[in-house]
């Protein structure tokens, strides 16, 4: 029977006029190395996954199933401003970090795992999508552990963020990184 071995939730409501809190000090003791190219989305993924895995015995073949409704928005906005507004070639790491799976690379590297590493999106039910993939691999006996996370980024200014997501003025805005480690009940 599949059980939740550990879980961690980071969720921060972003208020009007507020800047996003730095994650550096929270991350620093959790990282095996400094990831210089980590953008906000990657930082959120690293923070949540590392806190969830703290004190757990992760097997090298542990699978990673990362989901998001909107993915790495901040980096994609930066790249599109460079390319479309400023008419510049994208910077290499901005381009690479447009991929949702770049965050999974850093998480796997930090946790020392090398099993399946998936990034999946669904606007409604991103967590369910990731859980379905993880449960499939667990059920087939292909992995013994599964790190399942949902990461959502908030970008500033909030008015643009809300317009991008089709949210009304004054709608609550937040960033989050919510993780579970799944395994088998022995």
């Amino acid at each position: 029977m599949i059980k939740v071995s550990a879980q961690f939730q980071y969720r921060h409501g972003v208020q009007e006029g507020e800047s996003l809190p730095s994650l550096e000090s929270a991350l620093q003791p959790l990282l095996k190395e400094h990831f210089r190219r980590a953008d906000r989305f990657i930082q959120l993924a690293l923070l949540g996954s590392a806190r969830c895995a703290q004190g757990q015995n992760l097997l090298p073949g542990c699978g990673l199933y990362l989901a998001s409704a909107t993915g790495p928005m901040g980096n994609n906005i930066t790249l599109q401003q460079q390319l479309v507004r400023d008419r510049l070639l994208p910077k290499p790491f901005n381009f690479i970090n447009t991929l949702g799976s770049s965050s999974g690379y850093y998480v796997a590297k930090n946790l020392g795992i090398s099993g399946p590493n998936l990034f999946v999106s669904r606007r409604q039910g991103a967590l369910q999508a990731a859980l379905a993939l993880a449960e499939t691999d667990l059920s087939l006996g292909l992995v013994a552990q599964a790190m399942v996370g949902v990461v959502e980024e908030c970008t500033l200014p909030l008015a643009d963020h809300r317009a991008r997501l089709g949210l009304g003025a004054g709608s609550p805005a937040f960033e989050s990184s919510e993780w579970q480690l799944l395994g088998f009940d022995r």
Binding site: L79, L89, A132, S139
Partner: protein
Amino acid sequence: MNQPLPVYVRASSLSCALGLDLAQSLAALQRGEVNARPIELNGLAEPVRMPYYRIPDGMDLFDVSRFETWVCKAAAAALQEAQLSAAEIAGLPIFIGSSSFTINESETLYRRALDQDPAGAYGLPVIGYQQIADALRKNLNLSGESFAFNTACTASANGLLYAARMISLGRYDQALVLGVELANRTTLAGFSGLQLVADVLRPFDLRRNGIVLGEGVGAVLLSRQAPVGALRLRGGASNSDSFSVTTANPDGGVIARLLQEAFQNSGIQAADLRAIKAHGTGSPMNDTGEAAAIHQSLTALPPLCTLKPYLGHTLGACGVNELALFGAALQAGFLPGAPGSTEMDPALRILPLHQAQAAPGGSYLLNYFGFGGSNTALIVEKAAG
């Protein structure tokens, strides 16, 4: 656990540089056509020029309507071939793999907004992950669960793998898997900035010096039931390598482990392979890693095929696109040869087929690797006789 159920390729479709549909593309493959043409991105501070494999639809390359046209055409063609009922279509789960989704639309809308109201314009006006599923729902009444994979160049290969696994567990009877990659400025300028683009694609060749990008949209309908003789998707494996975010480990170790897992999960031995459809990007490091893994995993090398000299690198869509085309070639009885790769690299000790040869019944390995250390391998089986 019950014995996993067999999964078959019941229908497939493809629109790519070789042709507007799979039949056209297969015929062009048999003729050995290579349709890369030079393109140029205008208006950037630095010029971006490169060869490109585009779908020959005569439309402006960045016309935003191309996305819905080609996605729906690919899906509809597969559904028509499979002859599903309206109820089956309505509940069909959709697995989508893409690197860029609908970023072209986002770029275009942002450009228009900057032209009309610079102060009110904001970057990334459209987030594309859900748009493909939404377009299929709107136009074809496909309303099942959707999974949008964004694992770089393994995205639609992972879509195939996980759709097959869920069918094999009995979660679904069938699933539609799409690979979608259409021209956009982010991808073209991004790869240009990475200096990974070559003039000619020469996988595994001594002279290889990079990739050539392409666009293509494919669809594969996987099912527990299929006509006699249909290709079977036996299984595969997916793993990750933290060597580099952009490059496969040239020692091939993690990919070799992937191949062993793919053989094991599919119930075959390495010696059972009739041929390998390589990932074969033509980039120096990635071909080195793939060749090393093949040598570590196989004592006797079967024929090696590459499709990117015909399709270009269709990035996240290449899993579905290359399965659709390779599968069609297998069913037509041939392993495609490829132009461009004729000089053996002594460090790799491997070259793809140059001339087509007969494709016997048996098991075939399809490799896919991507940024972020993402590796996926699939095993398909052609029926004997």
